[in-house]
Amino acid sequence: MTMEKQRTPKNIFVQGAISPEKIAKSIANHQSKTDIGGHSIFLGQVRKDQKDNGTVVAIEYTAYEEMALQKAFEIREAIFAKYPLNCMHIYHSLGRVDAGQICLFVFTSSKHRRAAMDACDELVERIKAELPVWGKELLDSEEHVWKVNQ
């Protein structure tokens, strides 16, 4: 009988924007993993879009956290099963993220680049489609609109 590492849901949510320093630290943490040949990273950034009633100045994120963490865990397991990955990290903001700041950080690593790139793509699509998370776009007019994903 082989002993497999049992993975459990882990927190993906961070309060507020994701800093470039956090991303740098996450990258640096992989320097000891010398079987990795390629990392693929996706970053979502809040856009200053023009809306009918004003300009977006920030997005305020809320989530159904328990369900989102369970779903993120299921997605994570499915992607690990599908691609030969060394590592996978997902971070999503909750609360206010100003325009120009980063609200999503997806990071995959593999021996050969293709797996990391394909897994990162699929993760981003699934996160946007399947995680119960909502963005409220705050406008400079003090009004707001609910974000709609494409």
Binding site: Y64, L104, I127, K128, E130, P132, V133, W134, W146, N149
Partner: protein
């Protein structure tokens, strides 16, 4: 709580209902729940949302177990 269900609301549904948590007397199915909500909050009829029972999305009409947590989920817009 027996004979009660806990309702959680999010996003624009929470905004419309004005509360993010409600407790209701037991309702048998998700379609019955929708009828109840549409009567109480008519604007919900024109809003798109899914229902999760105990954190699982339901397809069509499903039984609501006693004491369940039922969530009203407008279209996701994370990322």
């Amino acid at each position: 709580m027996k004979n009660k269900i806990r309702i959680r609301t999010f996003g624009m549904i929470a905004e419309e209902i004005g509360q993010s948590k409600l407790t209701l007397d037991q309702i048998a199915t998700t379609e019955n729940l929708k009828d109840y909500l549409f009567a109480q909050f008519p604007k919900l009829q024109s809003m798109k949302f899914s229902i999760a029972v105990n954190q699982k999305l339901v397809q069509g009409d499903e039984q609501i177990p006693e004491g369940a947590e039922v969530a009203l989920l407008p279209p996701f817009s994370g990322g």
